[in-house]
């Protein structure tokens, strides 16, 4: 088992290298000059520009620049912005906000999605089942941009049930944005849960459990659920990455100072080190989430063994 974990972590290294190289190259290829973007409309002192270009290795070829970045990265140094602020300082606070948001969304997704899915599956083929299916379809069809603004206006501004924007109200600030962010994922997970449980309830071992004279509660809650959960875990794990990456729109609507907002403004300012830093951490989170999912798999399904 531990050998498997080590092997998976080693496998993560080329993935990380590839991801950083790719992002570094994309930001490098963006039109416009970072120093010019930094100065905005102000007139620049040519001497200062020359010094800054030298300091940030902007005159070196692409691969040399990337090399400097990598060397720093392996020393735990994510570099600094053009204004001289360490990237780690910027990321620390922002990631906290986004992780709070993503976790809120993930918990909502798991609770509502699995709950609705089970409800629909146990009423398979009846009116309630069709209603759940129809409402998930609606949820999938409406973009986050729309649900975000509509719910903000209705529940935030009009009813005043939730804070309208910002993170000043503690955990309550994350409820509405979390739900908006989780929206389509809830719908997909509901459908996945429903299908998975309906399928499982048709299995031979469920017939065996019924023939053993077990109460229906136990047949569904123990024998079926344990098997039906296995594919859901994979989906949830993979979705954590999507939620963190997809937070850009939600963070903008609800004015949450997370990495989504930061990423957006950093791309605008050609802050290569910030963009690559954030993406690197995102990739790392994604890899770890997938590793945890794979390990959970072995716990849930004894047929899976890692050597």
């Amino acid at each position: 088992m531990s050998r498997y974990i080590i092997r998976r972590l080693i496998q993560a290294i080329p993935v990380l290298l590839g991801a950083t190289l790719l992002i570094y190259a994309i930001v490098f290829a963006l039109p416009g000059d970072p120093i010019a973007a930094l100065m905005g409309e102000k007139r620049m002192d040519p001497n200062l520009v020359t010094i800054m270009r030298e300091q940030y290795h902007l005159n070196d070829p692409f691969l040399v620049q990337y090399w400097y970045y990598l060397v720093g990265l392996f020393g735990g140094d994510f570099g600094t912005t053009f204004a001289g602020v360490p990237v780690t300082d910027i990321m620390a606070g922002k990631f906290q906000v986004t992780i709070n948001l993503a976790m809120t969304a993930l918990v909502m997704e798991a609770v509502i999605g699995v709950g609705l899915g089970l409800y629909a599956a146990l009423r398979h083929g009846r009116a309630q089942d069709s209603m759940v299916l129809a409402s998930t379809l609606v949820l999938i069809s409406i973009p986050t941009l729309v649900t975000g603004f509509v719910l903000q206006l209705l529940l935030g501004v009009k009813v005043g049930l939730f804070p309208v924007a910002g993170v000043t109200d503690g955990w309550r600030s994350y409820l509405l944005p979390g739900f908006v962010l989780a929206g389509t994922s809830i719908a997909y997970l509901t459908r996945l849960t429903r299908t998975s449980l309906v399928e499982t309830l048709r299995a031979d071992y469920i017939r065996t459990a019924v023939a053993k004279g077990l109460p229906r509660r136990r047949v569904v809650g123990r024998h079926a659920l344990r098997n039906a959960l296995i594919p859901l875990i994979t989906y949830l794990g993979a979705d954590l990455g999507t939620l963190m990456g997809g937070a850009v729109i939600t963070e903008t609507i609800f004015n949450l100072p997370g990495i989504g907002q930061q990423l957006f403004s950093s791309v605008y300012l050609r802050e290569q080190s910030v963009v690559v830093g954030i993406v690197t951490v995102l990739v790392l989170i994604y890899i770890l989430a997938n590793l945890i999912v794979d390990l959970l798999y072995a716990v849930l399904d004894p047929r899976i063994r890692y050597e």
């Binding site: 004279g213 077990l214 024998h223 344990r226 047929r303």
Partner: protein
Amino acid sequence: MKKTSTSVLPAGGALGDEPLLAVDDLHVEFVTRQGVVKAVNGVSYSLNPGETLAVLGESGSGKSVTAQAIMGILDMPPARIPRGEVRFRGTDLLRLPEDARSQVRGQRVAMIFQDALSALNPVFTVGSQIGEMFRVHRGASRRDAEKKAVELMDRVRIPGARQRVHDYPHQFSGGMRQRIMIAMSIALDPEVLIADEPTTALDVTVQAQIMELLAELQRESNMGLILITHDLGVVADVADKIAVMYGGRIVENALVHDIYRAPAHPYTKGLLDSIPRVDQKGQELYAIKGMPPNLLAMPSGCAFHPRCPYRQDNCVTEAPPLYEIGPTRSSACHYWREVLDGSHG
């Protein structure tokens, strides 16, 4: 372990005239998009303690559906039971409320299935699946349930039961898995055990071992055994009587030695003739011509008439009743005398 009789049903003991289990004029239908499929059309059979009844028939003959109706594990809908009774110790199980029924299911009437790999839950240890019977029905503690599971695994002769009780179904061979299935079904000393093709998925050598085990367990406990199979070879040694099913009906009822000596229905005769025999080596193997009937469009008259070598004109129009042709024997063929004579000759 003695049964704690909490149910409304009479406990074990003298039965009088009533058999242990009696299926009477049972009808089962499935409502499908293509129409109503009549899977079982008036099946009757009975079983006494210590007796083995073999129910013989090809796929779609209704033999498994009858068993599932007895157990009460049919999905209703799409299935429905418009007519018939399943009397267990004189009480009609079909009219019993669900809570009383579940006192019978698994505890007093148990069932084992064909493919033990898919019939066992892959994510729980075999010990917990066997022990579950004691945990749920007898309120046993986890430790006691495990102890019972080991005892049962010993009883069905699984080597190293104490170590293997924590293994999962996929870690066992096919034969061992079926033994686990059997251990689970006999856990609470059922009075009736229904085995639905228990050896079909197994190697021939393992088949014999499993049949031997079932026969032995039956001798020890005097339970009634219903053996559902399509394989005449399997039943010869263990069965007392045979019910042959075709197209959802019983076409022949007989004691096992009578049927082997001289079948009284052309379908039974066809089945017996299609068993490979050593003294016919090199000759072409006999096969019943034609296909099993389509349950959505059953042939008129006798369902077997399109495939029957004894067919006369009235077979096409007139469905034969189950003729009583002896004290322990019946046949649903207008020309059972000819079939019987032909068998002797």
